[in-house]
């Protein structure tokens, strides 16, 4: 089985989170717990369902990912956008873990023109 991580949205603000290697939830895809067997994926989803019951997150599911060098990449465009934020507003885009959020190079924006902003 391909590599997967488990993601959800936080109940309080809808923010995108991933089950982390530390057992909690992280905002950074790079810190997500990667599994490559059905059994491990089921184990993570069971943990996630407990977090649903505890009203931490909503609607968890597993997504396929791929390790590329030091970073982790979601395989679908939708999940890549979820991981980094809207591609059209560099200023609201998530930085890499540990970043300040200001460096727009962290974003996957395909257009540099934000004349209106």
């Amino acid at each position: 089985m391909a590599q997967h991580v488990v993601t959800a949205n936080r109940l309080g603000d809808g923010g995108v989170v991933y089950l982390s290697t530390a057992g909690g939830w992280t905002e950074w895809l790079s810190e997500a717990d990667i599994v490559d067997s059905d059994a491990d994926e089921a184990r993570l989803l069971a943990i996630a369902e407990r977090a649903v019951a505890a009203r931490l997150v909503v609607a968890p599911y597993a997504i396929p990912v791929e390790r590329q060098g030091a970073s982790l990449k979601a395989l679908s465009q939708r999940e890549r956008i979820r991981a980094k934020g809207p591609t059209i507003h560099p200023q609201f885009c998530k930085p890499e873990a540990g970043g300040t959020g200001l460096e727009s190079s962290a974003c996957m924006s395909t257009t540099n023109t934000t004349a209106h902003w």
Binding site: D13, G14, G15, V52, I88, T113
Partner: protein, 553 residues
């Protein structure tokens, strides 16, 4: 505009209190997400890709300066400093926190606004002609009918759990600026041979997965019977609309499967049975609401303004903006001013808190504090004196908000798409931005003329792509974004649905494809023809050949 009385205020306050309780029950665990979802949706609260999204109702697109300022305040206090005006004449905030939403609603209530029925399987916020009350060609102000419908449909006890969402649009003019033929119910105001005002009733139009132009089920409905007739339509739909398949649950599917004649007979029979009951608003009710939409105190009725004409002659940029962004007014000496929210490379429909405050101020100074939101994601100042138009333009231009492109190729409708939306398959906004940049030259835009591009990021068609002269639909091909192109759609009184031209284009190639289509039109057009005319005259073949060669893939 309509001003709340104590009853309206009470109702909105009670709704805020109710929703505050519902959020508390969700946070305490009394409500599961499955139970909470329909409740939050009925108050316009979605869970999107990155955050919650709150859709605030702007009934029939009408706003005051005070309300616009409050929208700016909310953008700043609870969001990231901006909002997005939608094709349903609403505004969406992209980043609210769940526990703050009741406070946002309370702040909205202070200025007589709310998020009632902006989502969910209920009668949605009614939409109308954005020029209502000002248009030179109107029979009656569409806001009167719209407000009557707003009240009737608010917390309607019978129709709050319909098979699917239900959208009603109203136009007061023969020229349809409200796209009434692609709504669940469209009402076109008409005057019959006896001079009586009433409605042509169109049912079962819609876009989405199954685009259909609506069917006229009644040529003339006297105004006084409006609500009983709507109630009859809704009652037939509530009982007989499909509930087993989400994709076949809209009223358009019921009308199609029953057949227009059978559906009409059912509605008419139901109407005969309820007409004698006290469903309808009385003529006093109508008159009371109509009085709320009395014209402003115009200060001139002289058609000509020497100042205005002199400014147009003196300033080429002003003249250019006037040509595209003004519309004729019913009051001599006044103009309807369109404010484009489509600057080159901008996000269609987005406005920052600062922009909103500027619009509020300009409206206060020069448009009787009145602002409208259009279904093309632009704004309108409905009552500007000709001699003030130059000042309005200067104020807008100072903030980079005087794009002279209404109805031109860069005036693109775009849904939020995959940058925000949980349902999207592909991004819409950056495609709109790139097209806008490609056609940035004003001379080129004028040469091309009226051309409506509409982009949706998924089959739900919030970007109205089926009725774009050029429509783009984002699809997902193995995790990559592709765009199908339709041609020849239109949403006005001659509504038509676009025809799929051929295989989809990748994100990288779609802008080139649009340019190829435009160049084909420019080459083949006859004098006076806009893109749609040329397409209607020649059909899809020359465009198809330009895109794919003579042997399409």
């Amino acid at each position: 505009m309509y001003v709340y009385d104590e009853y309206d205020r009470t109702l909105v306050a009670e709704r805020v209190a109710q929703f505050r309780g519902q959020v508390a029950r969700r946070l305490s665990g009394e409500l599961s997400e499955d139970e909470f979802r329909p409740l939050r949706l009925m108050n316009g609260l979605y869970m999107q890709l990155h955050a919650y999204m709150l859709r605030v109702a702007i009934p029939y697109g009408t706003l005051s300066s005070v309300q616009m300022r409050q929208l700016a305040m909310i953008a700043r206090k609870y969001d990231k400093g901006y909002g997005h005006f939608t094709t349903r004449q609403n505004i969406q905030y992209n980043w609210p926190k769940l526990d703050a939403v009741p406070d946002i609603l309370a702040d909205l209530a202070k200025v007589e606004m709310h998020a009632h029925q902006t989502s969910g399987n209920c009668i949605r916020n009614v939409t109308a002609d954005q020029y209502a009350g000002a248009a030179a060609d109107e029979i009656e102000d569409a806001r009167i009918t719209s407000e009557v419908i707003r009240q009737w449909s608010t917390f309607h006890p019978e129709f709050s759990f319909l098979p699917r969402k239900f959208k009603i649009a109203v136009t007061g003019s023969p020229h349809d600026r409200a796209a009434i033929k692609v709504h669940d119910i469209g009402l076109r105001t008409i005057r019959n041979d006896h001079g009586e005002v009433g409605y042509e009733v169109v049912v079962g139009g819609g876009l989405g997965r199954t685009p259909i132009v609506g069917l006229t089920i009644r040529e003339f409905l006297p105004k006084r019977h409006l609500l009983s007739y709507l109630e009859a339509i809704l009652r037939v739909y509530n009982q007989e609309g499909r509930r087993d398949n989400l994709f076949k649950a809209r009223i358009k599917i019921l009308v199609q499967s029953m057949g227009g004649t059978a559906f009409t007979e059912k509605v008419e029979a139901e109407w005969r049975a309820i007409r004698k009951d006290a469903v309808d608003f009385s003529s006093e009710d109508f008159a009371r609401i109509a009085a709320q939409f009395a014209p402003p105190r115009y200060v001139t009725s002289t058609a000509h303004s020497a100042e205005f004409e002199a400014a147009r002659l003196a300033d080429k940029d002003f003249e250019a903006w006037c040509r595209t962004n003004l519309a004729p007014h019913k009051q001599p000496g006044y103009a309807i001013v369109n404010i484009s929210l489509k600057p080159i490379g901008g996000v269609p429909g987005d406005a920052t808190a600062e922009d909103m405050e500027l619009f509020a101020k300009i409206a206060e100074l020069w448009s009787f504090s009145a602002i409208r939101v259009t279904h093309s994601q632009n704004l309108v100042l409905p009552y500007v004196r000709l001699s003030d138009v130059h000042a309005v333009w200067q104020a807008l231009r100072g903030a980079g908000l005087a794009a002279p492109n209404i109805d031109l190729i860069t005036d693109i409708i775009s849904c939020p798409g995959l940058d925000y939306c949980n349902l999207a398959n592909a991004r819409s906004i950056p495609v709109a931005q790139r097209i806008s940049e490609r056609f940035a030259s004003l001379d080129r835009q004028y040469d091309i003329g009226e051309l409506k591009i509409k982009i949706s990021g998924c089959i739900n068609a919030c970007g109205h792509h089926h009725v774009g002269h050029i429509g783009l639909l984002g699809v997902d091909k193995k995790g990559e974004e592709f765009y199908q192109i339709t041609l020849g759609g239109s949403a006005d009184e001659n509504a038509s649905l676009g025809t799929l031209v051929g295989p989809a284009f990748s994100y990288d190639r779609v802008v080139d494809a649009v340019e190829t289509l435009v160049e084909t039109y420019v080459t083949k057009r006859q004098p006076g023809e806009i893109f749609l005319d040329t397409y209607r005259r020649l059909g899809v073949a020359p465009f198809k050949e330009a895109l794919y060669g003579s042997h399409p893939a």
